[in-house]
């Protein structure tokens, strides 16, 4: 199996998003596995600050040279910050998905929802399951 970076201090979703939890603020992006699967990213569409996002619902779109995919919100809440740099530098998602390639910061409506996000170990198993199919 290819080598995927899965930082232990982040939480994840089965839709291949990561979440960095800092109190009621959750910063999200797509995982290393997702960016490798997608290939070269050429466009990212993100919602404006103030938009309400709902857990499990599409909040934006990511486009690579291969395909276009929806981005799903890991938690319900309000967008407090969006990474405007991605409009001109979508390559940041490929180069640094856990850093410069971040997408949104969300103020979580219900802190209990954070517990539904999976751990790095569980996410790694989820990636491995799909890689061996």
């Amino acid at each position: 199996m290819a080598d995927y970076e899965i930082p232990a201090d982040l939480r994840y979703t089965r839709e291949d998003e990561w979440a960095r939890v800092e109190g009621e603020r959750v910063t999200i992006g797509v995982t290393d596995y997702a960016q490798q699967q997608l290939g070269d990213i050429v466009n990212v569409e993100l919602p404006a600050v103030g938009t309400a996002v709902e857990r499990g619902e599409p909040f934006g779109v990511i486009e690579s040279v291969k395909a276009v995919s929806d981005l799903y919100a890991p938690v319900t809440g309000e967008v407090v910050e969006a990474n405007a740099d991605l409009a001109n530098h979508p390559e940041h998602v490929n180069e640094d998905c856990y850093g410069d390639g971040w997408m949104l910061s969300i103020r979580v409506a219900d802190a209990a929802e954070i517990e539904t996000l999976i751990s790095a170990a569980e996410y790694r198993r989820h990636v491995e399951d799909r890689s061996t199919e």
């Binding site: 466009n43 486009e63 395909a67």
Partner: protein
């Protein structure tokens, strides 16, 4: 570039001097409507233009030069009789604003083509107006929306399988529906329980492609349609893959309420650079009141004989295209239907299915087949067997160009990682399929012995591997002359 061949003052025409006095444009137009310089059009002689475009044509891939195995696109051969008939002056020189009394031949052709498509598909009525498959989908979902609204129902969801063409969710979203993705089973097809679980009173329609994009027949189609109908929903059929069913099964008999036809796929009208497309839509009677206007109608009784254009559809979704649609394509499709006849259409589907299964049988040992079952008109491979070599689907596609083939559809359907989607169509003889298999086998061997050669392909084209990423991130959309320094 034609622009680079341009020389000031060179022309490709010769006209006599005007026999009326010159007028000063400044006297006739306001200042803001006048250009103060020429727009930089290229200046060449006729023979230079002819040579330029003739040369370009020799660099093209074309179905007239070889196999064009573009999955989901049915790039079948375009019979030349279609072209001859579409060029008959009565069709080619007709004006779209001719009154019906002076366009009887064309209107009769439309009327007959509508009925032929209805017969092939098991639908009750057909509109020829939509310009392509995607616009046909848009029209079909607009009619579904109008149907529900007429009944006082405001449904908000459309179900789409995860193997669907991207146009399906787009057509639903353009009609302000929310799209719910239905997962396919591990066998690559849709299962009734997955549809039943999603089928709430909020669902306006299910959109389904049969055979689906994996080339598999949706064997539960009748039961799935019953589930949707029982909850008041309708079923939209994406007709992109109709080629596999011609003369064998009719979507209308399976429970589909509305579907589009791609004349440029199934009915052999030119496709891609040879376009334009045409995407007629067939409906069951319950959707007929919503058809786009005008509708071609045969005169009856005291009206006399012949055909007219009927605008009296108060519940119509309106007009989708100026005049009739892409009218010359109707002539070609009609020519195709009449030259093949019912038996020929069935034979066409049988040969398309046989060709796809022959390819799959020949490729199975060397290539990974994600869902290995008998297929209909196309088969899907993946690059998984090449994982250790570092060669990907994209590399295989580029290397196929060196072997003289237009690459198949790649990275689609999305539910297969690294998909290669191959549709040989009925046009290809067995020797042609064998050559294609040999090319793919050679590429698989190269991937193991000389992976860099594959990863840097193509090598035999005028241009090597293009940087698709940079083209998408930093597109240059217009040629600009290099200005000399200081100008």
């Amino acid at each position: 570039m034609l622009f680079e061949r341009s020389r000031p003052g060179r022309t490709g025409y010769s006209l006599p001097d005007p026999d009326v006095p010159d007028a000063d444009p400044a006297a006739a137009f306001d200042a803001e409507q006048l250009r103060d310089d020429l727009p930089g059009l290229p200046e060449l002689s006729e023979v230079e233009v002819v040579r330029h475009f003739t040369r370009l044509s020799t660099w093209n891939a074309a179905v007239d030069l070889g196999l064009y195995p573009l999955g989901s696109c049915t790039m079948k051969y375009n019979p030349k009789i279609n072209e001859a008939l579409a060029r008959l002056p009565g069709f080619a020189a007709a004006h779209p604003l001719q009154p019906p009394a002076l366009a009887q031949g064309f209107l009769e052709l439309c009327w007959r083509l509508e009925r032929a498509l209805a017969e092939v598909s098991g639908m009750d009525r057909v509109t020829l107006q939509p310009a392509a498959g995607a616009q046909g989908e848009l029209a079909g979902i607009m009619m579904i929306r109008a149907y529900h609204e007429q009944r006082g129902e405001r449904r908000s969801l459309v179900l789409v399988p995860d193997s669907a063409h991207g146009t399906n969710p787009a057509s639903a979203a353009l009609n302000d529906y929310r799209v719910v993705s239905i997962p396919s089973g591990r066998d690559g097809i849709l299962h009734p329980d997955a549809v039943a679980a999603a089928m709430t009173p909020e669902v306006a329609a299910l959109m389904i492609t049969n055979p689906n994009t994996l080339g598999l027949f949706e064997t539960h189609i009748a039961e799935i349609c019953e589930i949707v109908h029982a909850r008041g929903g309708l079923v939209y059929g994406d007709g992109a893959n109709l080629n596999a069913l011609l003369g064998i099964a009719r979507p209308g008999d399976l429970g589909i309420d509305v579907m589009h036809f791609n004349l440029h796929k199934t009915f052999s009208t030119p496709h891609g650079g040879g376009g334009p497309g045409a995407g007629p839509v067939g409906v069951k009677n319950l959707l007929a009141p919503y058809l786009p206007v005008p509708v071609v109608r045969r005169l009856e009784g005291s009206e006399g004989t012949g055909f007219t254009l009927d605008y009296q559809f108060p519940r119509s979704i309106g007009r989708l295209h100026a005049h009739f649609g892409n009218a010359a394509m109707f002539v070609r499709a009609w020519a195709y239907l009449r030259s093949l006849g019912p038996d020929g259409l069935r034979r066409c589907a049988e040969m398309a299915v046989l060709n796809a299964n022959y390819l799959l049988a020949r490729l199975r040992g060397e290539w990974h087949v994600p869902i290995d079952r008998p297929v209909m008109h196309e088969c899907v491979l993946s690059d998984q067997a090449l994982k250790a070599t570092g060669v990907t689907t994209l590399d295989v596609a580029k290397r196929l160009i060196d072997y003289g083939y237009h690459p198949p559809t790649v990275y689609f359907p999305l539910i297969v990682a690294g998909a290669l989607m191959i549709e040989p169509t009925e046009s290809e003889p067995r020797e042609g399929l064998d050559q294609f298999v040999a090319a793919l086998s050679a590429i698989a061997a190269e991937a193991r012995s000389d992976p860099d050669r594959v990863r840097t392909a193509p090598h035999r084209t005028r241009h090597g591997r293009l940087d698709e990423t940079r083209a998408a991130r930093r597109p240059v959309l217009r040629w600009q002359p290099e200005r000399p320094a200081g100008s």
